[in-house]
């Protein structure tokens, strides 16, 4: 067995191609890293992996045989966590799943199964939080617009939610951290990449960009938020646990009109 570091394009299909190549060439993998990142292993040989669709499909098909749909989802979610080194853990879990007869994805006493399920859970939580904390602002050209900066790459997994909820309005959700957005034009949702004006802001922003009344609605929402609070029951510790501070700048009720 050759001991190697795999370098891939950073996409999920790219990772699946790594899995294919590893099995095909009987490689002993010490690292799987996306392009642009440095390897930690000094003396391992590096192999570039080129994403190939037929390999992706083969691996997906076999994964679907060995895993429940939830198990496949967990793998995908943990991939989106972008946690350094997660690829190797995923690969480790895949090997364990392939090597065992039983439904090994449920073996929480196996370290990589547990790690993957934890990473997937974190991503799931962030997905849920984005579905909750996204605040659309209506622009002058009738577009409901939101910017986000999630810890994990959740854009691919929140699109469906917003599509089924806001089927009759045009919207755009833009991930500032990854410089990638999803735009829905009443028919389909598509990825877009664009330059945003600096002063569009996260909460508030230059009112020139927004439709009449938009700022008022943010005020009304803030007003509502404050009126529903029961002062004799204030529990800030719990509040911050629910609404972590790093999200505050997106929330018009927390950081209004900065």
């Amino acid at each position: 067995m050759k001991s190697v570091v795999l370098k891939y394009d950073g996409s999920f299909p790219g990772f699946l191609t790594c899995v294919f190549n590893a099995y095909e060439q009987k490689l002993e993998i010490t690292e799987i890293i996306p392009e642009g990142e440095d390897q930690k292993q000094l003396f391992s040989e590096t192999l570039e992996v080129i994403t190939e669709d037929f390999k992706v499909q083969r691996v997906l098909k076999s994964l679907k045989k060995k895993l429940s749909s939830n198990g496949v989802k967990r793998l995908y979610y943990s991939f989106l966590s972008e946690i350094p080194g997660i690829e190797l853990k995923m690969y480790d879990m895949i090997r364990y799943v392939y090597s065992s007869q039983e439904k090994a994805e449920l073996d929480y006493s196996h370290p990589s199964v547990l790690d993957i399920s934890k990473a997937a859970k974190q991503v799931g939580r962030e997905k849920h939080r984005m579905e909750a904390f996204i605040r659309f602002r209506l622009t002058k050209d009738d577009l409901y617009f939101a910017v986000i900066e999630p810890d994990f790459n959740v854009l691919p997994v929140i699109t469906k939610h917003f599509k089924s909820r806001y089927a009759d309005q045009r919207w755009l959700i833009y991930d500032l951290k990854r410089k990638l957005g999803v735009h829905y034009d009443l028919q389909k949702a598509e990825y877009v990449s664009m330059e945003l004006p600096e002063d569009i802001g996260i909460s508030g922003g230059n009112p020139d960009y927004f439709a009449e009344g938009e700022i008022y609605f943010q005020h009304l929402w803030k007003e509502y938020f404050d009126s529903t609070n029961i002062k004799s029951r204030v529990n800030m510790r719990l509040h911050i646990q629910h609404v972590p501070k790093r999200y505050w700048k997106y929330l018009s009720e927390k950081s209004p009109f900065a």
Partner: protein, 419 residues
């Protein structure tokens, strides 16, 4: 839209509605199929949390805080000298839609003070819901408060537009209700509940035969009780709850620690602390009944009328039933596994899955995420035994409290501090 006027109304009518604790927005099946606005087919989402830690998922407002009744526990009571306001039907519709489109909320929770008559008020609430559904093609969540004393016909109509209906029973005992709301009759609360229950049953049987039967309150009904206003016991409260769950197919019962709002001699004085810990223990008990398979009589009974404040009800039960423990984590059946303090529903499922692969030891259990500081005294597993066999329940309780880092630990620490 006159924003300043709306803002003032919103202040008054959201403030008055905040004592309603229901915030659930899940459990409905209203898929957005016709490219309309909104979708309630999944879980509900808490879009924000108030500083007191409660979920904000619905625009929760009163249609008006004018009221012909004078219930002692209610801010909106007739004799209270407060600013009054009323929304127009269209104003509520516009607010709901504008907030929903910006992803602030899951939908609307609409309640009201009773003006003119129960039917008059109920009819107005229904008009809001009907407009949202029929004119705005809105598929978000709508929770309507049923007005006690509203007619059967209106209750029927309300359920056609709302996802959930609720009548707040408010006071868990009849005698308490008589004391604090002498104008209201127990039957006024029960009658609409009965109607809703029967309509839901009828819908379920009809929709099996005819697919197009219009949906009726698909998320069911709920109710709320005020805790700590009339000196009732925890046993009284939870027996009322069990009664509602059993006889009215209630989806949820909410418990609301009484927030003193007036100097009425029948009620706890202003400045009395809100019984938050007690409220929390009641919710825990409620969960044990609904998800952990406990009978209410196991948790509270004539010999044990009040929940313990310093430990959770599951631990309390285990300490009162030491003969059931310790259980072998690798063998015990699900039902008893659920009763081990420190092991929650999700951990139970993980344990049941994982133990098919190998015998579990302490380390496995720790990683799965169970609270070892409580669980270890009630289980054995594939390792040297750790549990203390001969310790009395009282001593064990103290030991667990000493070793836990609960935020309430200070309050309940039995040892006196020196300074």
């Amino acid at each position: 839209m006159d924003f300043d006027r709306i803002k003032e109304k919103l202040n008054i009518l959201a403030d008055a509605a905040k004592y309603d604790v229901s915030c659930s927005s899940s459990g409905s099946k209203r898929t957005n199929t016709k490219k309309g606005l909104g979708d309630s087919s999944g879980m509900g989402i808490c879009h924000s949390y108030t500083q007191d830690g409660r979920c904000v998922s619905l625009l929760k407002i009163l249609l008006t805080n004018h009221c012909i009744f004078d219930c002692a526990y209610c801010v909106t009571r007739k004799s209270n000298d407060i600013k009054r306001a009323a929304f127009k039907v269209q104003e509520v519709v516009d607010l709901t839609i504008s907030f929903y489109r910006r992803n602030y909320i899951e939908g609307l929770f609409l309640s009201s003070g009773i003006f003119k008559s129960p039917d008059h008020t109920m009819e107005r609430l229904i008009r809001v819901a009907k407009k949202l559904r029929e004119e705005e093609n809105f598929n978000g969540y709508i929770h309507l408060k049923s007005i006690p004393g509203a007619s059967d016909e209106l209750m029927r109509e309300a359920g056609l537009y709302a996802d959930r209906l609720s009548v707040n029973i408010e006071i868990p005992t009849k005698s308490g209700l008589k004391l604090l709301a002498p104008e209201k009759k127990h039957e006024d609360f029960m009658k609409p509940m009965e109607k809703v229950k029967n309509e839901i049953i009828q819908y379920k049987s009809e929709s099996k035969l005819i697919k197009s039967t219009p949906k009726y309150a698909p998320a069911g009904q709920s109710t709320q009780m005020i805790v700590g206003a009339t000196g009732e016991s925890d046993r009284d409260i939870m027996y009322s709850s069990a009664f509602f769950y059993k006889n009215y197919n209630m989806k949820r019962v909410y418990y609301s620690g009484y927030v003193p709002i007036s100097n009425d001699p029948r009620l706890p004085a202003l400045g009395t602390q809100v019984p938050m810990m007690r409220e929390n223990r009641l919710y825990q008990t409620d969960w044990l009944m609904r998800f952990y398979g406990y009978d209410v009589r196991e948790l509270l009974n004539n010999d044990f009328q009040h929940l313990e404040m310093d430990i959770d009800p599951k631990l309390s039960y285990a300490l009162r039933n030491r003969h059931l423990f310790p259980v072998d984590i690798n063998k015990v059946d699900r039902q008893l596994l659920l009763r081990v303090p420190g092991i929650g529903l999700k951990s139970v499922n993980k344990i049941l899955q994982a133990r098919k692969f190998r015998k579990l030891n302490w380390e496995h259990l720790q990683k799965i995420g169970i609270s070892m500081n409580r669980a270890k005294y009630f289980i054995t597993c594939d390792a040297r035994e750790k549990e203390l066999k001969d310790v009395s329940s009282e001593n064990l309780k103290q030991l667990i409290i000493q070793n836990s880092f609960s935020k309430y630990r200070k309050e309940f620490n039995q040892q006196l501090s020196l300074f």
